[in-house]
């Protein structure tokens, strides 16, 4: 008598768990091919499985490699400028790449322009963005909520060069001819403010015009994130507040905003990261002048505008200086964006709990 158990056990071990031949114990040739076919198919499947898993893993590592590549290539490119100028690069205002025998490059003006233009843009865009988000979540009738949200999000889809053109041909002349003279006149007699808002020669190209374009560009980001985080507020909280007689604004300011504070700040920082690095829109309209002017109506430059307008024609230490500017910008935006993401992650964790 054949002990069937033995046969099965050996088949299990040999053929990877499929006791096919155990059924036809005589071991005819057809069943043997079946077994080996199945084994082969399983083997190729297992191989394909491993390859696919490995592919996804290497693609994931590639994301990390890109970041490392960016940092390394910027440092290599910036090295000549770092060794030539050292820390003076950060404290010098003068930008004279053509100077003989040695060019002088200082990053203070573009750094100042980057920070100030982003700051003014945030001052304008944050109240607007939050206002739109409050309108969309608290007031807006259901039927028009989607079209309005779409319109705001399409603002984010318009390429930045289009904003630049539009600012250059439409917004800039409008501001310089109709808006800015009025502002200058209002502040003309107030000390300090008359130099911030001063301008003998108003131009279509100025720091303020660039800031306004930036504000329009980052508005959709603030709105989108604010709408998302506002919708994480549990309805019972709002209903309870309405129930004890709060007005809509009181519900927003006492319940919604405190509950979503971390997320809103995260969204604002994310928008700030965008504003700091925005290139084409600013390049068109900021005037590209390496000067620090007390007036926001005067031309200036930003890091990205300086790179965009000079890089293609630069060489040697001038080019290296521009790459060093890029490195500074990358470090700056990296920290701003990292802080933003950490804040938004904290909110997600709370929403998930």
């Amino acid at each position: 008598m054949i002990r069937s158990g033995d046969i099965r056990r050996s088949d299990f071990t040999r053929e990877g768990g499929f006791p096919v031949s155990a059924i036809t114990e005589s071991g005819s040739s057809t069943s043997r091919t079946l077994v080996s076919d199945r084994a082969r198919v399983l083997k190729t499947m297992a191989f394909g499985d491993k390859v696919f898993a490995l592919l996804t893993l290497s693609a994931a590592y590639l994301v990390l490699l890109v970041l490392a590549g960016i940092i390394i290539s910027l440092i290599i490119g910036a090295w000549p400028a770092i060794t030539t100028f050292g820390l003076d690069f950060l404290t010098t205002t003068r930008w004279a790449p053509q100077l003989e025998p040695e060019p002088i490059l200082g990053a203070l003006a573009p750094i100042y322009g980057t920070l100030v233009s982003s700051f003014i843009a945030m001052l304008i865009a944050v109240p607007f963005g939050l206002g739109i988000a409050i309108f969309l979540t608290e007031l807006c009738p259901h039927s028009i909520r989607k079209p309005i949200r779409l319109a705001i999000e399409l603002l984010a889809g318009i390429p930045s060069i289009i904003y630049g053109m539009w600012g250059f041909f439409v917004l800039g002349p409008f501001l310089a001819n109709y808006v800015e003279p009025g502002i200058v006149a209002v502040f003309a007699d107030i000390p300090v403010l008359n130099s911030v808002f001063g301008g003998e020669m108003l131009s279509n190209l100025s720091l303020f015009n660039a800031s306004l374009i930036l504000a329009i560009m980052i508005l959709p980001f603030i709105t989108a994130i604010a709408v998302d985080v506002f919708s994480t507020v549990p309805p019972v909280l709002k209903e309870a507040a309405y129930g004890i007689g709060c007005t809509t604004w009181e519900v927003v300011s006492n319940v919604v905003l405190p509950f979503t504070r971390v997320g809103v700040v995260g969204g604002v920082m994310l928008a700030l990261g965008r504003a700091l690095g925005e290139t084409m829109a600013v390049t068109f309209i900021i005037g590209n002048s390496f000067k620090i002017s007390s007036s926001i109506f005067a031309p200036g430059t930003t890091i990205s505008a300086a790179i965009a307008s000079e890089f293609a024609e630069s060489e040697g230490v001038h080019q290296s200086g521009l790459i060093l500017l890029g490195l500074l910008l990358f470090v700056l935006t990296f920290f701003v964006l990292a802080a933003a993401r950490l804040m938004l992650m904290r909110l997600e964790k709370r929403a998930g709990a």
């Binding site: 499985d49 696919f52 290539s73 910027l74 206002g131 739109i132 705001i152 999000e153 994310l270 993401r341």
Partner: protein, 280 residues
């Protein structure tokens, strides 16, 4: 405490301001679209699509080489970037769900998603243009691919995480190997979302200018050589718009109208696809 009427007044005022902000935001979109149409449509002739960019001072001409170059580079950029992005997103959502690497990659990816595109231009200049000793369409495509990857990683992961685990368990219970389960079940369930992600990525890079400025430069002439500078719409617009030549300026506006129309159409299509998926 203020009277109820005073509180109501305050609330109405603030909500009125919110309404005003919304109106201004929407009006702004239409202002931009209007000036694009106003300035772009007069130049929208058949020649735009059939003739090359003209030399300065000459009349006529079109944007054929720029449109061709933009299409090629966008296609190549997405062709390189999207598969990498989908694979990396698959790792985050499927294989690496409990790995310690996943949060790190997700964090880095989110930062790359918002990183200034001009920095990516500098990176590709250093990593591709300098070693190859030439500005080229390939370098431009790689720059665009670097922008595409984070967008696609993000949407792929989000969409795969929406696929119910019961589907995965059912597939595995039938004995399907994991990679087959992912490709035949998870990808299929998340298909609309994955396509949305790729379309959004196309829309994102379609109008990108900054990373192309010093990776492909541009080209006055027809060139299909991928290893040489190639004409493309954004850089052509950038070069033409600041020129006193009226013909060039008109072509730049028309090019801007074309880019914006294409990008916004893609955006709306992608959102429509995504929304119909939500409704199911």
């Amino acid at each position: 405490m203020a009277s109820y009427a005073a509180r109501q007044r305050k609330s109405t005022t603030v909500m009125g301001l919110c309404l005003l902000a919304t109106v201004i935001g929407v009006v702004w979109l239409f202002l931009i679209l209007f000036s694009l149409l106003w300035n772009g449509i007069p130049g929208l002739t058949f020649a735009v699509f059939t003739e090359m960019t003209p030399p300065p001072g000459e009349k006529g001409g079109g944007l054929l080489n720029a449109i061709y170059g933009s299409l090629i580079m966008t296609f190549m950029g997405v062709g390189i970037g999207a598969p990498i992005g989908i694979l990396a997103g698959t790792y985050l959502a499927e294989y690496g769900r409990h790995s310690k690497l996943t949060p790190v990659i997700r964090f880095i990816n989110d930062i790359l998603l918002s990183a200034p595109s001009i920095i990516i231009g500098l990176f590709v200049y250093g990593a591709v243009v300098v070693p190859m000793r030439s500005f080229s369409a390939v370098a431009g495509s790689i720059a665009l691919a670097v922008i595409v990857v984070p967008v696609v990683v993000r949407t792929t992961e989000d969409m795969l995480l929406l696929v119910p685990n019961t589907l995965r368990e059912a597939a595995s219970a039938l004995g399907l190997p994991r990679s087959h389960m992912i490709r035949k079940v998870a990808y299929r369930a998340a298909r609309a979302g994955l396509i949305t992600g790729v379309l959004l990525a196309v829309a994102r890079v379609g109008g990108e200018t900054a990373p192309l400025l010093f990776t492909v430069l541009s080209n006055q002439f027809w060139s299909a050589d991928l290893l040489r500078p190639m004409a493309n719409l954004p850089v052509t617009i950038n070069n033409f718009i600041n020129n006193p030549d009226a013909n060039w300026k008109q072509l730049a506006w028309t090019g801007a109208l074309l880019i914006t129309a294409a990008v916004l159409t893609l955006n709306i299509t992608a959102r429509f696809l995504g929304a119909s998926k939500d409704g199911q």
